[in-house]
């Protein structure tokens, strides 16, 4: 049967309508897919996208807090902030930096040193930061730039807080300084979960107290919520959270004492640590030469940096904490105390000193030719008899010496509140095993113990360790951790948090032994090697001189004055005063100062004179020109 044309037409129409139905189905399915997507975005993920939209819209502009102020024990300001205008460039927003800087230079003065500093900052920075091309603009300069501002996109005048150290180089090693945040600082910040709090901060404490108490000093960053458009332009301010200023530090340090001490050193290199024995509070922490921390605040100029870094006097080294020196004869009172405590000597026991001590085929010589004759413990300290301590070291043995000296903190970090303290060297067979690699070097020889007895050999301690040891003896065996900060004042509540009011430990010494050692040290300043420096002091003090060999002169007499200065011995002195109720204990070191009595003791005298009597020195301490036969 043939299809009629009409039939063909109808079936064709049916097929067409079927295709329409298929198409309609596809359309409905596709739109359903879209609706599904909308449901997903607008219902399921709504909160997420709302947050994203808010993040887009709202920019938190950090407001950096005021950094805490640092004052000394008398309230003298050591570190503070001042506000000043800086001219800053955001390198990422500027096409041609040189051209821009040249352009700015036509409006306000840009010195070559400013350019150099900017270059240096640029190398160290992330490109989206704004970097200062000029700091401390005058009001006139601000006005002049503001009038020409449209010429310099990406360049802005900003009000910034600057750190200032009003005392300049005084106590710089204790204070430290702040400088721009670098990569390793960022890691520290991250480790302490402080990233958010440092959003608006571009400086951080690099050394000293500024570094140690960074997070206490910093404060809490405030925020301004600003609505911004896609171009990052602020449309309006929505809310503001004020920053909270950093906490203030009150130190145990006495800046006047510090200043007098630094002056007493004159141009000599050295260190002095003075501690209040009953608290461990550091009264003066001196390392000379010093430096001016203000140089670092807005980026140190490279010529200043080179000067500080390349100086043979190494002013950037904190000798009080990082210089390790043999204690020389200042070691003797501690040796004597060890002997008494361990029952190896009694005060009255005497030895006969022929001027040398023979051990293992080697002659250990005394400084005094012919010897001191009959020597008891008192005389051994007052006259600083080497032979007595050669013998004592041999009798005590290295293990006992190491254990006792370790108990008073020698060869260990004191835990002072400054980073990077050195350990020094407390020699022992175990130390030697750790220190050397080859087996033949690792062996401890009994002969090595002998020179340990007079503070030579491997012995090497930092001035702060010596000061802590003297303070512990002065404080009758009650030991404190030396510290610079007395308390931290909360900037919001005014609440004071004391630092280390509790003693570290009480050493189990017999009071009569302590009293005897003190008596012998008083003898040093009354009739012994320190007598000349302390003549007519007007107060009773205990002390001990010491000389640390820098250069060993085998078999020849040591004539200090004839040697080159850098080969001369280091001079040391430890002291405490007043003798009956010590308020101050100290350790002085003068690098290449020769005999301790000659150059270190006079500095100690000046410090004690000022601290106990308020006497101001007339100038730097003078070397005692006529060295006695001693040590």
């Amino acid at each position: 049967m043939r299809h009629s044309p009409l039939n063909t037409r109808d079936s064709e129409l049916d097929r067409f309508r079927f295709r329409i139905a298929i198409a309609a189905t596809v359309v409905v399915a596709a739109f359903a897919l879209l609706i599904g997507r909308f449901v997903y975005l607008q219902i399921v993920q709504h909160d997420y996208y709302t947050t994203r939209a808010e993040d887009n819209r709202i920019s938190l502009v950090p407001i950096a807090p005021n950094r805490g102020v640092i004052v000394d024990r008398n309230g003298t300001i050591m570190a503070r902030n001042y506000s000043a205008f800086t001219l800053e460039i955001t390198p990422s927003k500027v096409d041609d930096l040189d051209e821009t800087i040249d352009g700015i230079a036509k409006v306000i003065e840009i010195l070559p040193k400013d350019r150099r500093r900017f270059r240096k900052l640029l190398e160290e920075s992330k490109s989206f930061e704004s970097l200062p091309i000029r700091t401390r603009l005058t009001d006139e300069e601000v006005a002049r730039f503001a009038a020409n501002r449209y010429l310099f996109p990406g360049v802005e005048v900003k009000a910034r807080l600057f750190r200032q150290y009003p005392l300049g180089p005084i106590a710089s090693h204790a204070l430290g300084y702040i400088n721009r945040i670098n990569k390793s600082d960022l890691e520290t910040i991250e480790k302490n979960d402080q990233e958010a709090n440092y959003k608006g901060t571009d400086h951080i404490g690099k050394t000293g107290l500024e570094q140690k108490y960074e997070f206490a000093l910093h404060g809490e960053t405030g925020y301004e919520e600003v609505e911004i458009d896609a171009g990052g332009r602020a449309v309006r301010s929505l809310a503001r959270t004020a920053p909270v200023s950093g906490n203030n530090l009150t130190l145990t340090l006495d800046t006047r004492l510090q200043e007098i001490t630094e002056k007493a050193f004159g141009d000599r290199r050295g260190a002095l640590v003075a501690i209040e024995p009953s608290t461990g509070g550091i009264l003066a922490l001196v390392s000379t030469p010093t430096f001016d921390p203000n140089l670092f605040v807005d980026g140190i100029r490279s010529e200043d940096w080179d000067l500080l870094n390349n100086s043979p006097d190494r002013p950037m080294v904190n000798r009080a904490l990082n210089g390790a020196y043999p204690p020389g004869s200042t070691f003797k009172p501690f040796m004597a105390l060890a002997a008494l405590e361990l029952g190896k000597r009694t005060p009255g026991q005497t030895i006969s000193d022929p001027g040398y001590f023979n051990f293992g085929g080697h002659q250990f010589r005394d400084d005094k030719k012919g010897g001191h004759g009959l020597v008891d413990m008192y005389k051994s300290i007052v006259a600083s008899c080497d032979t007595y301590y050669y013998m004592l070291a041999n009798d005590l043995g290295i293990d006992n010496i190491a254990r006792f000296m370790g108990s008073i903190g020698l060869g260990k970090k004191t835990g002072v509140d400054i980073e990077g303290e050195s350990e020094g060297v407390l020699p022992s067979p175990e130390w030697k095993k750790r220190r050397f690699k080859r087996p033949e070097q690792q062996k401890w020889f009994a002969g090595e113990t002998i020179s340990i007895g007079i503070g030579q050999g491997y012995n090497a301690y930092t001035p702060i360790q010596l000061a802590q040891a003297v303070a512990t003896v002065a404080n009758d065996g009650v030991m404190f951790r030396p510290h610079l900060v007395r308390y931290i004042t909360d900037s919001r509540t005014g609440e004071k948090t004391m630092i280390e009011p509790e003693p570290l430990r009480k050493l189990p010494w017999k009071q009569q032994n302590i009293d005897f050692i003190k008596k012998a040290m008083i003898g040093v300043n009354r009739e012994g090697t320190g007598a000349r420096a302390f003549a007519g002091a007007g107060y009773e003090s205990g002390g001990k001189t010491g000389t640390a060999q820098v250069f060993s002169l085998k078999g020849s007499d040591y004539k200090g004055g004839k040697l080159k200065q850098e080969l001369r011995d280091h001079a040391l002195f430890i002291a405490f005063a007043p003798a009956d109720n010590p308020k101050i204990a100290l350790a002085v070191l003068v690098e290449n100062g020769g005999f301790g009595a000659q150059s270190a003791a006079p500095i100690a005298r000046m410090v004690l004179d000022y601290y106990l009597l308020g006497k101001l020195p007339k100038g730097p301490a003078k070397d005692d020109e006529t060295p006695e036969e001693e040590e």
């Binding site: 064709e12 097929r15 067409f16 309508r17 295709r19 329409i20 198409a23 309609a24 359309v27 409905v28 596709a30 739109f31 897919l33 879209l34 609706i35 997507r37 909308f38 449901v39 975005l41 607008q42 219902i43 993920q45 709504h46 997420y48 996208y49 709302t50 994203r52 939209a53 808010e54 887009n56 819209r57 609505e227 911004i228 458009d229 896609a230 171009g231 449309v235």
Partner: protein, 368 residues
Amino acid sequence: MFLKLLQQFRSRLVEHIDGPLLAISLALMLFGLATVYSATYDANNRALSQLLNMLVGLAVMWSVAQLPPQKLMRFAVPLYVVGVVLLVLVYLVGVKINGARRWLPIGFTRIQPSEILKIAMPLMLAWYFHKYEAALKARHFAIAFLLLLVPFGLIAKQPDLGTAILVGAAGFYVIFFAGLPWKVMVGMIAAAASAAPFVWTVLHDYQRKRILTLIDPTTDPLGSGYHIIQSTIAIGSGGSFGKGWLEGTQTHLEFIPERHTDFIFAVFSEERGLLGNCILVTLYLLLIARGLMITANASTLFARVLGGSISLSFFTYAFVNMGMVSGILPVVGVPLPFMSYGGTALVTLFLALGILMSIQSHRMLVKT
């Protein structure tokens, strides 16, 4: 007398106008105007100018609706030929803007010939199939594909993937409704799938980037991913009921790019929420459904395939645009019908509506 004249005028005015199509498109236009207003009121407001575009569009629609489909058929070949010639000229001497050669300078201004093909393409193919209606063979389909591929290739080459897809889809719908065998279609899909790796190698860098960005917009958050990221944030943050008209933060803080043109859906979606989206999608669905209904009842093959193609083209526009703005399709330059700002596109859309109305209004005349 005057009343009668007025009545005559009124009946003359509405005689060939399809009520439902007009109602739906007016509703869409109202949404469109409100959204264009919101998207542009911060700076230089385009709502009034869009309103004028719409009035011009309505006039074009009315005029086209007056013409019976047979008369439209006469335009098919000339329009197609002119379109293709112009495309060739673009290829040879076109103006290059932003790396794409899409424009032809004509004295004081420049035109975009690919726009002509949006209508000329389905018109041409519908005419072709209508001509050989009695005996459609495989070769007719082959020639139809050839007629399709020439302009498609030329537009894709410019490069203008969005318009190429729209033109190509419009042409393909005609072929589909003309009765392209299912077997061939399945075969083509299989071939397309296997050719995909090859296509990848001939795509332009910016096109590949768009596809990669679609898969993971975060790979290029500041570059090509930025558009998608910001528009999905706008849509997602709109939630169920939207942030309210003129209240979209993404819109008014300028996070949405092209916010009054290709990305206007993000603006709408942010301010009107899921509810608004559902209403909008429903309106498009109604528009397409009405178009398909008209098509199903059309009397000639020409009217059927042309009407079907136009109806589905609305779908292509709407789906591709909303799909790309919401991040499920690559970013191609396709405006959202009746919503996006732009005179040319709007006039083309109204022209298409006019054709549908013509088909609906003249079906009886042809049948008898």
